[in-house]
């Protein structure tokens, strides 16, 4: 009987059942669901290699940690949880100690200050669980007054090596600083680091200023001012604060300017005889209309390659988004949801368009594909408007205003995933932010 069983089993296997039982190749599994949580990192205080560097070592490591944690993608492990510390920049890393506190990334650094007042910072990044450095070590240098920029650059490097996309910490934001009540508000241009530090004012508060925008390399700012009583466009050199008016045509109002990616061409809205269209001004040329319709066309924004322009128009009876060739031509409507769409801004990556949406009495900041698909609303409040992209296209900054006569405007930022919504610190009320490119 036993033999008969073996024979039957053998026949069954010989007939082809065997391949189904015996596995072919390594065991294969597919993981389609993971977790989304900040990556925990440890950053011991940078080592001061001389006495003059003591002050900067602590501040530098503090700014690097704040930059990374501020993205919402990373979580700093408190230093009092450390099992071991780093006392020598070149000492081997005790990976077991960092694994024990679940630090997945470790940032070590050292700071020295030379006699001429030059700060040198070197750092290394380690993948703790792989027990290997993540990229090569890097050394950065600068004046003592630029220590914050050095810290931002270190954070940019760490961010880039872990996430795989460029950073945005070493950048600035130009915005409108506001003072006084809503019915008598004073506005002036100001510029600051992306995190609200180093605020500097570019204009006085004698006239109203609106909608400043950086040039592609960040050396100039173009904005709208009511200095003459009518809205006119000005271009200002950020370094010298010298400015000049742009294409002043009598009997017209110009506003909503923005640079083309080449940094020379400017696109803006021009109102003449009650009608508003989009115009383009090239160096040494005259303003050329890109649209010609009885409706209002405004808020133009170039695609990163300069081939297309997205703008808002009410030609359909309600305010919607359209895009057209950079040379003009028939525009294509791209927004079809409920409500009104405005202030479109093309992402520096070229894949998304941020916009302001008003629907059912609420304002939203949202993003959509450049063809209008996959619309996602990231925020919702009493009044959100005027989005601007971070240099890496990952974060959007915008203006959020409170209700009531005393409701102040403030700057907020949000990740394009909709997470990490937070207020950007400013010295007072602020509006109309515009992000610069990464500084050189």
């Amino acid at each position: 009987m036993k033999k008969l069983t073996h024979i039957l089993a053998g026949l069954a296997l010989a007939l082809g059942i065997s391949p189904a039982i015996a596995q072919d190749g390594p065991l294969r599994i597919e993981i389609t669901e993971g977790v989304i949580e900040p990556l925990p990192f440890a950053i011991p205080v940078f080592i001061a290699e001389n006495a003059a560097a003591q002050e900067y070592a602590a501040q530098l490591s503090q700014v690097v940690a704040a930059d990374l944690a501020g993205t919402g993608l990373f979580r700093q492990i408190p230093r009092d949880a450390f099992i071991s510390n780093v006392s020598n920049f070149d000492a081997p890393v005790q990976y077991a100690d960092w694994k024990a506190i679940n630090a997945q990334a470790l940032i070590t650094g050292a700071v020295s200050v030379a006699e001429g007042g030059r700060v040198n910072v070197k750092f290394r990044l380690f993948d703790v669980f792989s027990e290997a450095p993540l990229g090569d070590g890097l050394q950065l240098g600068g004046t003592t007054t630029s220590w914050r920029r050095i810290a931002h650059k270190v954070a940019d490097q760490v961010y880039s090596r872990i996430t795989g996309e460029g950073g945005y910490f070493d950048s600035r934001v130009v915005f409108v600083h506001e003072e006084g009540p809503k019915n008598a508000r004073q506005k002036r241009l100001a510029v600051m680091d992306y995190d609200g530090a180093n605020v500097q004012y570019l204009t006085g508060s004698a006239s109203i200023v609106l909608a400043p925008r950086f040039s592609p390399n960040g050396d100039r700012v173009i904005y709208t001012s009511y200095e003459t009583g009518f809205p006119k466009i000005y271009i200002m050199d950020v370094g010298t604060v010298q400015r000049r008016i742009l294409d002043d045509q009598p009997g017209t109002m110009t506003f909503a300017p923005r640079f083309a990616p080449d940094g020379q061409t400017v696109v803006f809205s021009l109102e003449r005889g009650g009608n508003t269209d989009i115009y383009k001004l090239t160096p040494g040329g005259t303003a050329q209309p890109l649209t010609n319709a009885p409706s209002i066309e405004t808020a133009p924004s170039y695609s990163p390659d300069g081939s297309q322009i997205v703008f808002e128009s009410d030609r359909s009876g309600t305010q919607q988004l359209y895009k057209m060739s950079a040379g003009g031509g028939e525009p294509t409507r791209i927004s079809f949801g409920e409500g009104r769409y405005g202030t479109p801004v093309w992402s520096p990556r070229g894949d998304l368009i941020a916009f302001t949406k008003q629907h059912q009495g609420r304002f939203h900041i949202g993003v959509m594909r450049t063809d209008g698909s996959e619309e996602r609303l990231l925020t919702a409040s009493f009044l959100d408007e005027g989005p601007t992209w971070s240099p890496n296209g990952r974060v959007i900054m915008f203006t959020r205003s409170g209700s009531g006569a005393g409701g102040e405007s403030a700057l907020y930022s949000v990740d394009i995933s909709g997470r990490n919504l937070k207020r950007v610190p400013t010295p007072g009320a602020a509006s109309d932010p515009a992000w610069s490119p990464l500084l050189p």
Binding site: A14, R28, V35, P38, T163, E165, S295, R315, F336
Partner: protein, 393 residues
């Protein structure tokens, strides 16, 4: 024996005959039964007719029935009546109905263009100077329809493919508000102050709901245009390791000491060698991993697969990682290598692989939940990290 055989044959023969007889008789009965039911019906009606014929002795009784016959012609009278009223009614109705239809259709065709051409021009030129007022007046009347309809019909086509499927077919209220807002955004917010002050916290909720709805239905018609995300993954299976196949064979030969079992093993090996290339040797044998055991491993790995710090580009990368396992269920960290990837740039692939490697090392440091007796099955594991469900959409 012959007696028993005779009895058995007799019994079986009798049983067979009984069966045949039952089949024949039962079949006949079965066939006859429906015929009886049919005849029964006819028989009943025939008797009734015969009884009626025999009982029909009163001719006078038939007389009064005659007037009933003329009553039957009445139905023909009613029949023409029924067609008559509808006929005249329907005839005038179509004559009345067409006018409204013609009135509706006609303006859409030739008459409309001729009649509307002057009107839109007149209104557009009038409303154009006060630019913000033009869109308000336009949607109210047909003249503006030449402009408004073109734009309002488009949203009806595309919302079906959009995340927010409800079309924007309400230009009038929007347009009315639009004129106010374009000039100054302050007045309208001021009117709605109290109701919305406490709603600022709902911002993340709105974002979340939008993300969820897109995540639930990512395969819209428009998304197809962005094809890279949805393409199939024809990944090639990595080359097998020859050395691991040998211990598997040894196990089978040790387990089956019996000569017949050896023959079975030979049959298995022959079957495999016939269906696969010569260099492909069976890697292992024994009971395979159950679905539950594989799920437990999958859950253990995904708990540490953190994609929160990955770039949007890296979230489009699917990486296939091969890892050799120790017998205690921990991964051989040095053996972790990427054997395939799909999508994304080189940097994105590198980031995706590092996130996968971190997941394997972190959650495998204390050993994955794997059945020790099936080590031959999981001595080497190929893990595919597919972030399709984790993408920012």
């Amino acid at each position: 024996m012959p007696e028993k055989l005779d009895k058995s044959t007799i019994i079986s023969g009798g049983a067979h005959l009984g069966l045949i007889g039952w089949a024949l008789i039962g079949g006949v009965i079965h066939w006859e039964s429906p015929a009886e039911t049919v005849t029964n019906v006819s028989m009943i009606s025939g008797d009734e007719y015969a009884a009626l014929v025999s009982n029909s002795t009163d001719p006078a009784a038939a007389g009064p029935e005659v007037p009933e016959a003329p009553e039957t012609p009445e139905p023909p009278e009613t029949e023409p009546e029924t067609p008559e009223p509808p006929a005249p009614e329907t005839e005038p109705q179509p004559s009345e109905a067409p006018p409204p239809r013609a009135a509706e259709v006609a303006p859409d065709e030739a008459p409309d263009t001729s009649a509307l051409e002057p009107l839109p021009e007149a209104e557009v030129t009038e409303t154009a100077p006060p630019a913000p007022e033009a869109p308000v007046a336009a949607p109210d009347e047909p003249p503006g329809a030449s402009l408004v309809l073109d734009s309002s019909r488009r949203p009806k086509e595309r919302p079906a493919q959009r995340v927010a499927p409800t079309p924007a077919v309400a230009p009038e209220p929007d347009a009315a508000v639009d004129t106010e807002m374009t000039e100054a955004a302050e007045p309208t917010p001021a009117e709605e102050e109290p109701a919305q002050e406490a709603q600022e916290d709902t911002a993340p909720e709105a974002a979340n709901t939008e993300i969820v709805t897109e995540a639930e239905e990512p395969a819209g018609g428009e998304v197809v245009a962005l094809a890279p995300t949805g393409s199939p993954r024809p990944k090639s299976r990595p080359a097998r390791r020859a050395p691991e196949a040998e211990p598997a064979r040894a196990e089978t030969s040790q387990d089956t000491s019996d000569a017949i079992a050896d023959a079975v093993a030979d049959a298995v090996s022959e079957g495999q060698s016939a269906s696969e290339p010569a260099n492909a040797t069976p890697s292992r044998s024994g009971p395979p991993m159950t679905a539950g055991e594989k799920d437990a491993l999958r859950v253990a790995v995904q708990q540490c697969w953190n994609v929160g710090s990955l770039s949007t580009d890296a979230l489009r990368v699917t990486v296939t990682v091969l890892v050799a396992m120790n017998e205690n269920g921990t991964p051989d960290n040095g053996s972790i290598r990427m054997v395939g990837s799909e999508g994304g740039s080189d940097d994105a692939v590198r980031q995706a692989f590092e996130a996968a490697r971190r997941a394997i090392i972190r959650c495998g440091s204390r050993g994955f939940p794997l059945p020790a007796e099936k080590y031959g099955e999981w001595a080497e594991i190929e893990m595919v990290f597919n972030p399709e469900k984790m993408r920012i959409k």
